[in-house]
């Protein structure tokens, strides 16, 4: 049997007296979109930060495709194939949308040809295609400060996809976006992920989004996975209705 795409073993991390990850063991299989839900402070973002190397656990391991990536710095984990999109898009605001993707490709490829003009790199057409996939081709030459919040979210996802990840971890991909736009953004996102064959894990507070776009849901509580299953199973579970959905509503 092949190794799961991502596996965590007994992850533990403490901030002062607070245990933000409490013996988290979980596997993520290829090709499925996993939503992480749970009350504020349950350790959802901490989990993403550990998996991408931004936080180092006091105990436990993170394995990507069977290999231990726990001690690696974030940039090396990205190069292995685990990308991250943050709650607030981390784009280079003084550059255009397209340049943000080109910079990501240049970072991915390392310094293959460091003094060539950024706009002449061979992946330019591929990056334009990525912008098309996220419906942002028309704003390719606009600087990030000129983009709407929704467009920034989508460009941020495109930047993550430019890194050719096999797993993309997203922190509230639709937060900060007008509610009328949320489903449109998720549809574009899920379609783009399917096309690029990228598995995703996303933290989400909007249960409507979770129900519609997740293949699986993991419920976080007090630093660990309380429950896991299909959206239908999880969202109707009385504990989840009491602890999570009740709070959100």
């Amino acid at each position: 049997m092949s190794a799961p795409l991502l596996e965590t073993r007994n992850l533990e991390i403490r901030f002062g007296g607070v245990i933000a990850a409490n013996d988290v063991s979980l596997t993520i299989e290829s090709g499925r979109n996993l939503a992480i839900i749970g009350p504020n402070g349950a350790g959802k973002t901490t989990f993403l930060n550990i998996c991408t190397g931004w936080l180092k656990p006091t105990r436990g391991q993170v394995l990507f495709e069977g290999k231990d990536i726990t001690p690696l710095p974030p940039r090396k984990i990205v190069r292995r194939g685990v990308a991250r999109a943050f709650q607030i898009p981390q784009l280079f605001t003084e550059h255009t949308a397209l340049e943000n993707l080109l910079i990501a490709v240049a970072a991915r490829e390392g310094l293959r040809n460091p003094v060539r003009d950024l706009h002449t790199i061979p992946e330019r057409a591929e990056m334009m295609h990525l912008l098309e996939m996220v419906n942002c081709a028309d704003v390719a030459d606009r600087t990030v400060v000129e983009l709407s919040e929704g467009q920034r979210k989508l460009v941020d996802i495109a930047v993550a996809l430019a890194l050719r990840p096999r797993l993309l971890l997203m922190d509230e991909p639709t937060s900060g976006v007008a509610s009328s736009q949320k489903h449109r953004i998720m549809e574009i996102l899920v379609e783009a992920l399917a096309q690029a064959q990228v598995t995703s894990v996303f933290v989400e507070h909007d249960m409507g989004i979770v129900e519609k776009y997740a293949d699986e849901v993991a419920v976080w509580n007090a630093g660990n996975v309380q429950l896991r299953g299909t959206p239908a199973e999880v969202l109707e579970h009385p504990d989840v209705i009491r602890d999570v959905i009740g709070e959100v509503a």
Binding site: T52, P73, P74, R75, K76, V78, R79, R84, F86, Q90, L91, F92, T93, E94, H95, E99, L102, I103, A104, A106, A107, R108, L111, N113, P114, V115, R116, D117, L118, H119, I121, V159, L163
Partner: protein, 301 residues
């Protein structure tokens, strides 16, 4: 002031501004990208000058033509960048990026003090002079004034080439864009796989090499002696602060302003010549504390 004096002051100012700008360029590049004010920059300038004089002297003694002084200037600059700049960033600065600015200043000041003594140990305290490069290019007469081609044409040409080259390098090339991206947001850069440590190391080596190149280019025009590094760091800081920290194009203009101000003062009111660059800086900073071209929340480079 008659025309000859005016032209002479103009040429002096341009030649001086070109040299100061080359050194200031390295200082402002390092500050723009790494947010570190490198006091040791002055020592790197002095060591660039000493290395050029020693290497040129050795090659001339072996029978090489004086024109070999030019490639040796480049070699000296690269040696300063790689052999001194590299270890300073790698062994010291890397540990203090997240520390208070006062500590960063103290550390680079300590490096400056150490390197000043290293110069005395290696080259002693007697002055050196090596004008082979200056003589190799000869003189030119313009508006009735005979001036060295080296100072009137070569130095400004190198300064202008470096200004345009660095602009192109940062704004267009792959590595330049990665440097700008890291400057803008170090975390975001790391999250897309940019090795920020390498970017900082490269930036510091380039900045240090520019200081070394400044010294190398200055060496045929002046006596090389202890203390020249201290004079230059203060002056190039005046240029960088007047322009606004991290402002590359601005530094070119303020270098010209300060260079011309100083050279005209030499002819008109010599007692104030040393003071003029700082007077310009103080006047500008009184009116615009962020510098002529800086803005309080401006881009860093």
């Amino acid at each position: 002031m008659n025309l000859t004096i005016f032209v002479l002051a103009l040429f002096d100012g341009i030649a001086y501004a070109a040299l100061v700008f080359i050194v200031a360029l390295g200082l402002t590049l390092i500050f723009g990208v790494m947010r570190i004010l490198n006091v040791a920059h002055g020592s790197l300038y002095a060591i660039g000058a000493y290395a050029t004089v020693s290497l040129t002297g050795a090659f001339l003694a072996m029978g090489f033509a004086p024109v070999f002084a030019f490639p040796l200037m480049l070699v000296s600059a690269i040696l300063v960048g790689v052999l001194l700049g590299g270890p300073i960033e790698w062994l010291l600065l890397r540990r203090i990026y997240d520390k208070p600015e006062v500590l960063q200043l103290l550390v680079t000041f300590a490096v400056f003090m150490i390197l000043e003594d290293v110069q005395r140990l290696a080259w002693g305290s007697q002055p050196y002079f090596q004008a082979a490069a200056l003589q190799a290019l000869g003189n030119v007469t313009l508006f009735g004034v005979t001036y060295t081609v080296y100072q009137l044409i070569l130095l400004p040409a190198v300064a202008l080439t470096l200004l345009l080259g660095l602009r192109f390098f940062l704004r267009r090339t792959v590595i330049g864009k990665l440097i700008l991206a890291t400057t803008e947001d170090r975390e975001a850069a790391q999250s897309i796989g940019i090795d920020a440590d390498k970017v900082f190391l490269l930036t510091f080596i380039v900045g240090a090499a520019l200081a070394g190149l400044g010294g190398a280019l200055a060496s045929p025009t002046t006596s090389i002696l202890p203390g020249m590094g201290a004079d230059m760091i203060v002056l190039s800081f005046a240029v960088v602060a007047t322009a606004g920290l991290g402002q590359i194009e601005g530094a070119a203009l303020t270098a010209l302003l300060i260079g011309l101000g100083r050279s005209f003062a030499v002819y008109v009111w010599p007692e104030t010549a040393v003071l003029v660059p700082y007077l310009i800086m103080v006047l500008v900073l009184l009116v615009r504390p962020e510098g002529l071209f800086g803005s309080p929340a401006a881009r860093k480079i």
